[in-house]
């Protein structure tokens, strides 16, 4: 199997790119998830001007292609006098995307907590913030965790877009390797295998977590 030897010889060239892809994904989840929760809380909250602002952030984040957001920040931030590395721009842009989608998942998680739980919280004296904090939110987060984990996997795939702003992640390493070797088909096939296998493994973990979490619901 000659192509296998070829693939193995390419791995050292691609693996730093994979590292960057995973780091990028990790940072986007680290920033994007809390951001999404914050957006969800604002959207469910009572302050109208904040709600409108959050709505714009979410609707643009979900409505515009992630690629367009990347370009928007990549070209837009320097025009506004902010100069960041491509990597940092990628993190900000994809965190925006992550937060926008996550906020919707958190909101449906909140909506899925049965009304009886709110009533039981109130009749147990847990009203307002403490009822929300101790009774509603933990259940909502549990309900949202499986779709959030799937979102995480999607974000890993989306991180491939950072290629267009020259972040040295997997796609860009693959493209570079292709243009040296002219073995585009084989290089991108290997890239697909890398993306695919990591995604499949991650999805398997998501399913496992899903089963564990649903035990107490």
């Amino acid at each position: 199997m000659p192509f296998l030897d070829q693939w193995i010889s390419w791995l050292p060239a691609l693996s730093p790119g994979l590292g960057v892809s995973l780091t990028l994904t990790g940072l986007c989840l680290l920033f994007g998830m809390p951001f999404g929760l914050l957006l969800a809380l604002i959207l469910e909250g009572p302050v109208k001007p904040l709600r409108i602002a959050a709505l714009v952030v979410v609707e643009v984040g979900r409505g515009a292609p992630a690629l367009v957001l990347l370009y928007l920040l990549y070209f837009g931030l320097p025009e506004g006098g902010v100069t960041l590395s491509a990597f940092a721009t990628g993190v900000i842009s994809l965190s925006w995307t992550t937060g926008a989608y996550a906020s919707e998942l958190f909101r449906s998680g909140l909506a899925a907590v049965p009304a009886g739980q709110r009533e039981a919280a109130v009749t147990s004296g847990l009203r307002g913030w403490s009822g929300f904090r101790y009774i509603i939110l933990p259940q909502a987060i549990r309900i949202s965790t499986p779709p959030l984990a799937s979102l995480g996997v999607t974000i890993f795939q989306t991180s491939s877009l950072a290629f267009v702003i020259a972040v040295p992640e997997l796609m860009s390493k693959a493209y570079a390797l292709g243009s040296i070797t002219f073995e585009y088909l084989s290089v991108f096939a290997l890239t697909s295998v890398l993306y695919g296998s990591i995604t499949l493994v991650a999805l398997a973990f998501v399913r496992l977590a899903e089963q564990r979490l649903s035990r107490h619901l």
Binding site: G116, G125, Q139
Partner: protein, 262 residues
């Protein structure tokens, strides 16, 4: 509701319940018409009546899970007047503090263990320390016969066990009045019996209780008085023996016949 406010000025005996001129409507649809109830401390009143009579709505108005349209509610020394537009938070909090509620479908907190279900409200609402809260929880769990289950999650328990935990959770906040909304309706008959036994003990210990129920035996044997509701009104309210065996109202007779024939 000026008259009601005036009458409410005579408070019930400490720990008792006094409801005057309670009205509730959803938009134009009136669900409760002028419901009155005066209970002494330690009294047990069962509420029976056909489906849609407004039993749950009445019970839920008592702790403001539903906001009544008019009327006053006095529990212990806390009075809330629905005529006053928006009751202040403090009196609502007090009203909920002195009432404990048990739901038809338990509503235990699924993400907390049995013990945490009982301790968390104590710590957050009453500011008890974890040790104090645990001690209270332990003694209550013993009382409902479920000490062995304290580290389990509710989903692992039978319905009857869950409902007994729900009762313990409510009792942990030392309410003056316990409200039960069909606590056994979601349970198989045997499991219902273990819950009814706990409730009977509670009544014997002198807890003031209002129980919406379809258990006619409980209504007759445990409660002091029975209140019959239909179409949002109180048809009759009297000593349980009398209401259950010799009701004055034709509707009550029909209802009881229908229920007892089943």
């Amino acid at each position: 509701m000026e008259i009601a406010t005036e009458r409410a000025a005579s408070p019930p005996t400490v720990g008792g319940v006094k409801v005057l001129g309670l009205h509730k409507s959803y938009g134009k649809h009136a669900v409760l018409h002028d419901v009155n109830l005066d209970m002494a401390e330690g009294e047990v009143v069962s509420i029976i009546g056909p489906s849609g009579a407004g039993k749950s709505t009445f019970l839920r108005c008592l702790n403001y899970l539903e906001v009544p349209t008019a009327g006053t509610i006095t529990i212990g020394d806390t009075t809330v007047d629905a005529g006053a537009r928006r009751p202040d938070r403090a009196s609502l909090d007090r009203l909920r503090r002195v009432t404990g509620m048990v739901f038809q479908n338990f509503n235990l907190f699924p993400h907390l263990t049995v013990l945490e279900n009982i301790t968390l409200p104590q710590m957050k609402v009453l500011g008890r320390s974890r040790e104090e809260a645990n001690a209270v929880a332990d003694s209550l769990l013993n009382r409902v016969g479920l000490a062995a289950k304290s580290d389990q999650h509710p989903s692992r328990l039978s319905g009857g066990q869950q409902q007994r935990i729900a009762i313990a959770r409510a009792l942990a906040l030392s309410p003056k009045v316990m409200l039960f909304d069909e606590p056994t309706s979601a349970l198989d008959p045997e499991l219902g019996l273990e819950v009814l036994a706990v409730m009977r003990d509670l009544a014997d210990e002198g807890m003031t209780m209002i129980v919406v129920t379809h258990e006619m035996h409980f209504a007759r044997d445990v409660s002091d008085r029975v209140m019959v509701m239909a179409d949002g009104r109180v048809l009759e309210l009297g000593p349980s023996e009398q209401v259950m065996t010799a009701p004055t109202h034709e509707r009550t007779k029909k209802f009881l016949r229908a229920v007892l024939d089943r």
